[in-house]
Amino acid sequence: MSETVIPYMVKPHPVTGLPNGKFGIWLFLSSEVMLFGALFSSYVLIRIGAPHWPPEGGLSSEVLNVPLGTFNTAVLITSSITMVLAWASCKMGSLPRFKMWMGATVFLAFVFLVVKYFEYSDKFHHDHFPSHDNFYAVYFLLTGLHGLHIVGGIIVNTFLLTWGSRMWKTDPEHFTNRVENAGLYWHFVDLVWIFLFPSLYLL
């Protein structure tokens, strides 16, 4: 481990008002905006080039399961709330309450993935693979990459819930910052879904 002391690891920089980690996570999110921005633009381009959308006829809302999608939207929004509560619990100095809310966040993330699993397997069951047509290609690409981001969030949040929380004893402020950074990422993943759901399922 490096013994070099890096400044502003925990305390905010006087000019930017941010500690290093929070600044870093905002930059990371800006690149994520470009990633999903490129994917959304590609979706728009492919869709306006298609004579009909979905190509095999019907409406997006008939092909995809809107009630399940709506349920998942509610699940993710709730998980964003529990994430904020987990961070607030840290701020108020209560590790047990942090664990409760963070546990709820991870649980809701799993609920989202389980629902997604049922949606996917239903599509596969009807032989609707990404190769079927570009509607399914876009659907699986966007929701798949979003799902990977959910998995990433689960890994980070589970770490903070278990081994990571040992930092609470030695450096509670640094730990709280980490929870905040994980929260910023989680809200972003949530926000991506809020764009994905209407543009894939409803429009």
Binding site: E3, P7, H13, N20, S42, H132, N134
Partner: protein, 588 residues
């Protein structure tokens, strides 16, 4: 504070260790979190890949100079599939071309300029103990290296490596052999590494500057690296998205980039269709045009440092340079489709991108003018780094000015995809950026190793390279204006190619000569590493912060926390006893 500390034995590690035990070998040199070690890892990896990428091109040059003739000795060694009877197979030629471009750009120049010089020099120049996220820094190198190895392994795939050019245009790339999938996967790793690195650079430069080092006191190299990091951060994700889509096209059978009714070898492909090959081009060039500036900006930064140090006068128009580099950064996001004038995307679009392209050439000219003005009236020391930095100016000027006809739609119609284009961008990147990078190696080698590179061998290296490289790239303009297309396996199949075929022989011998010209450098590098003249912390009598640290800097970089008192290039200040007033000395 003690800046005159003499570091006689060249080993600056012990005193900065704060009494901690030495790290084991694998933590210190392999999985290191120290920005200096990571910088050197990047630089060495990149230099090896530059040599490898260059070798691929030297093979291609045989086929171009002597089409259809068996290559002596090597032809037999490369096997019957690649070179049947010692004659290069067209598929192998395409693989070499695609991999030369990919390796030179993504595995060579960018890792050396950003991963190598950025990592090593930026924290030192801003007076930081390390990068903001040392472990993330280690992760970015260890995402980069597997990406490189994966990229190389694609040569072993059935059907060979990627062969659709470094641009990997679909539909060709979508239906190419397995090597293309490996190319995509390797690119995902390399892009991830770049993203992590760029976050680290921005946070480091903004948050970790030494006391007194305000924005307008940063060396120009740091400004250039900051803009570069923003370009990498925001331009790479669209290519990552595109690469994932190409993987889906190839593996999952989707049709993101495949139009309906595509016919291959007389048979209609069994695909859903409805995709757009142009979509890939837009996503690719949205990265790849900013990438061009990622290639050149760090080079400009190095040239600025070397010129100021060797003319012994302040950089002319320092603030103008900084404004220009920021303006280039913004503009580079709105010029990408000038690579696509020939795709039939419409005259309105072409006019827009032609206009932005003309606008972005202005700040580049401003930067070049500032450098030339910096030479005026200077007391120039023609050291090896200065020779490379001086040669950068006319070489980059040729590269830049020959780009203007390509940015104008009318002349681009004729010149598009000819050897003229190859000549143009190689003048920017090879005698441009690469010369700047060599200047950087000669300039900062003493800081990294505590020993000086041999100046005489450096000058031999420079003059031989300078002559050879112009024999390589200058004739390409004439070939291009004669209409010779790039990526032609046999240039003599067309009548208009036969007239300029003699130039191909000149170019090829120039390229092989250029390889020989690198021998003095390789010898110098290893010889000086063991037996070069030892130096104290400031051998070039420079003013920026990295020269306050011992050579080589130990763990944590500086012996005492550096404080900055002045602007970066205070050379030959009237009334001072020395001709340089370092940023880190209260009384210069």
């Amino acid at each position: 504070m003690s800046v005159e500390h003499h570091n006689g034995n060249g080993k600056g590690h012990a005193h900065a260790d704060h009494g901690h035990h030495e790290l084991p070998f694998w933590r210190k040199y392999i999985f290191s979190v120290d920005h200096k070690v990571i910088g050197i890892q990047y630089a060495v990896t990149a230099l090896v890949f530059l040599l490898f990428g260059f070798s691929l091109m030297m093979l291609m040059r045989w086929q171009l100079a002597y089409p259809g003739q068996p290559l002596p000795v090597l032809g037999k060694l490369l096997g019957e599939t690649a070179m049947p009877g010692g004659v290069m197979a067209p598929e192998f030629y395409n693989q070499l071309g695609a991999m030369h471009g990919t390796i030179m750009v993504f595995l060579g120049v960018v890792p050396l300029a950003v991963g190598g010089f950025g990592n090593f020099v930026v924290p030192l120049q801003i007076g930081a103990p390390d990068m903001a996220f040392p472990r993330l820094n280690m992760v970015s190198y260890w995402a980069f290296l597997p990406g490189c190895i994966l990229m190389l392994s694609s040569f072993l795939m059935p059907g060979g490596s990627a062969q659709s050019g470094w641009t990997s245009y679909p539909p060709l790339s979508d239906i190419a052999p397995t090597g293309q999938t490996v190319w995509c996967l390797a690119m995902v790793l390399i892009i991830t590494s770049s993203l992590l690195g760029s976050i680290n650079f921005i946070v480091t430069i903004v948050q970790l500057r030494a006391k007194g080092l305000s924005f307008w006191r940063l060396p120009f190299f740091v400004h250039a690296q900051l803009v570069t990091a923003f370009l990498l951060l925001l331009a790479f994700p669209p290519l990552e998205a595109a690469t994932v889509m190409q993987i889906m096209d190839r593996v999952a059978g989707t049709s993101f980039f495949l139009p309906s009714g595509l016919v291959v070898s007389g048979e209609q492909l069994k695909i859903a269709g409805g995709g757009s090959p142009l979509l890939w081009q837009h996503l690719f060039w949205f990265l790849a045009h900013p990438e061009v500036y990622v290639l050149i900006l760090p080079g400009m930064g190095i040239v600025a440092e070397v010129i100021a140090n060797n003319t012994r006068k302040p950089l002319w128009g320092y603030r103008l340079l900084v404004y220009s580099v920021i303006f280039i950064g913004f503009m580079s996001f709105v010029v990408w489709a000038h690579h696509m004038f020939m795709t039939g995307m419409g005259t309105t679009m072409s006019t827009f991108f032609q206009t932005t392209t003309m606008i972005i050439s202005v700040p580049s000219v401003v930067i070049l003018t500032c450098f030339i003005m910096s030479l005026y009236g200077g007391n120039i020391r023609f050291t090896a780094p200065m020779l490379f930095a001086t040669a950068f100016l006319p070489m980059f000027a040729i590269g830049g000015l020959t780009g203007l006809p390509l940015g104008l739609t009318a002349s681009d119609i004729y010149l598009h995809d000819t050897f003229y284009v190859i000549g143009h961008f190689h003048y920017v990147v090879a005698p441009g950026t690469l010369f700047a990078l060599f200047a950087g190696i000669y300039y900062w080698f003493p800081k990294a190793t505590g020993r000086q590179l041999n100046d005489k061998l450096g000058k031999i290296h420079f003059w031989l390279s300078f002559v050879a490289i112009n024999f390589v790239f200058m004739p390409m303009f004439f070939q291009g204006m004669a209409g010779l297309s790039r990526r032609l396996y046999d240039p003599t199949v067309y009548a208009h190619g036969r007239g300029v075929q003699a130039l191909n022989v000149v170019i090829s011998w120039g390229a092989w000569g250029l390889a020989i010209a690198q021998l003095p450098f390789i010898i110098n590098f290893f010889m000086s590493l063991r037996a070069g003249a030892r130096v104290a912390e400031n051998p070039w009598h420079s003013t920026t912060l990295e020269w306050a640290a011992p050579s080589p800097p130990g763990h944590g970089n500086f012996l005492t926390e550096p404080v900055v008192y002045r602007e970066p290039y205070e050379y030959s200040v009237p009334g001072k006893t020395k001709d340089y007033s370092p940023q880190f000395q209260a009384e210069g």
